[in-house]
């Protein structure tokens, strides 16, 4: 079984990760997400991590890599579903994940992506 699932919601791509995802899985995820984002002109990617009860610094780095890649493809990344223990662990490790945004749930993430798009649209010449 694939360690992640992709759902396309118009210009938004929803990515749900399973807890047992390994390096190979992450590699495949990066390939699939990047081709889909550039191919379908996706402006925002929502990464759902609610399956994760623990997170290590290695996975945090992989997420940063994903965020940087998406930025190069001009798509925003919103992470949803971090639980309290994961947040506490990340803080204890001093990991702040500055390159991505966070939302309470998928709904809020969609609103956030909408907000940003309008703001960007307003700024564009």
């Amino acid at each position: 079984m694939q360690p992640f699932s992709l759902f396309s919601l118009g210009r938004v791509l929803l990515v749900s990760l399973e807890e047992d995802i390994d390096d190979a899985g992450i590699g495949e995820l990066l390939t699939r997400v990047s081709s889909q984002v550039s191919g379908e002109a996706i402006s925002g990617v929502i990464v759902d991590l609610h399956h994760f009860e623990v997170m290590d610094s290695h996975l945090a780095r992989q997420l940063q890599a994903l965020a940087r890649m998406l930025r190069l493809l001009q798509a925003r990344m919103v992470v949803v579903g971090l639980c309290v223990p994961v947040v506490m662990t990340l803080l204890d490790f001093g990991i702040s994940l500055p390159e991505m945004e966070f939302a309470l749930d998928v709904e809020q993430a969609l609103v956030r992506l909408q907000e940003g798009k309008q703001a960007e649209g307003g700024r564009a010449p």
Partner: protein, 298 residues
């Protein structure tokens, strides 16, 4: 009625008086032989006065000081002064605590010829002292427990997370904020965010008397944690002094939205929530349209 001065003070009457005294009295010569002991003294060691005469005092009383340099008889006779103290004596297989006082005994020429010792059984007193000490200790323990309980209570009370609006939590901080309290506050904020799905957390520090770099860092960390959960943090109640301290400490408050008063923060948060709700409405229309499109395509 006879006056006490009229009574003949002969030897028999003096020994009557001495035997009537309830504390133990005995006299030794320089060789530790007991020359005289009263009834109370003999009774305390479980003997009659007749059994003690001409015996060595160390055989009768058997204290840990006997036949050492601390022997009170030797001290008073060699130094010509009174000596007081507490010790225990061995009576059968029992240890009896006593308090004693000794004075040198002199003859008419002023020459020291022995030692007079007066002792009382203090086991009852010690027992009382012990009970009092025990009571004191248990009282102290109880008080300590009470204090600990109160501290926990204060910790509980002083970090309340209140939901003041749908999607808005407030954390009014009161009192000094150490790292322990800050940690508890942060955990509670995170748990409350998880439960209530609040999009905004308003941290009010009006009630924190001393805000230093550490406190600022704690608040910042709480904001960072809230951000990872997907909520935004607003900080209110920053006074002029606090502003100065935070700016001097160089702690950057980039993840925090600053508002002057709680009212401003609430208004801001409510406005934002309302805006998002409108967006959500538009968005669900859009999603509905999308779904219809999809169905038509099929």
């Amino acid at each position: 009625m006879k006056d006490i001065s009229e009574v003949q003070l002969d030897e028999g009457f003096l020994s009557e008086i001495i035997n009537a005294i309830t504390s133990g009295i005995f006299v030794t010569d320089l060789e530790h032989n007991i020359l005289m002991i009263n009834k109370a003294g003999a009774r305390m060691v479980g003997k009659r006065p007749g059994d003690c005469f001409d015996r060595k005092c160390y055989d009768i009383f058997k204290t840990p000081m006997c036949r050492t340099e601390f022997c009170t008889c030797d001290i008073v006779t060699s130094k010509d002064r009174a000596n007081y103290g507490e010790t225990t004596m061995q009576v059968g297989d029992r240890q009896v605590p006593i308090e004693y006082s000794s004075r040198p005994l002199k003859n008419y020429e002023g020459k020291i010829i022995g030692c007079v010792e007066n002792f009382i059984d203090i086991s009852e007193r010690l027992e009382k002292d012990r009970i009092i000490l025990e009571q004191k200790e248990s009282l102290l323990k109880k008080r300590e427990e009470d204090i600990r309980h109160l501290q926990d209570e204060i910790l509980e009370l002083s970090t309340p997370v209140i939901q003041v609006w749908d999607g808005i939590l407030t954390l009014p901080l009161i009192g000094t904020l150490d790292s322990h309290r800050a940690h508890i506050a942060m955990e509670r904020v995170l748990e409350s965010i998880e439960q209530t799905r609040a999009a905004f957390v308003i941290v009010d520090i009006t009630g924190v008397p001393i805000v230093d770099a550490d406190v600022a860092r704690h608040i910042l960390q709480t904001a960072a944690a809230a951000r990872l959960m997907g909520s935004e943090t607003l900080l209110t109640g920053v006074g002029p002094h606090t502003a100065r301290v935070i700016s001097d400490s160089g702690v950057s408050l980039e993840n925090i939205i600053l508002k002057g008063r709680m009212t401003d923060a609430l208004q801001y948060a409510i406005a934002q929530l309302e805006e998002r709700r409108q967006k959500m409405k538009q968005f669900s229309h859009f999603m509905g349209a999308l779904r219809e499109d999809g169905e038509q395509q099929e």
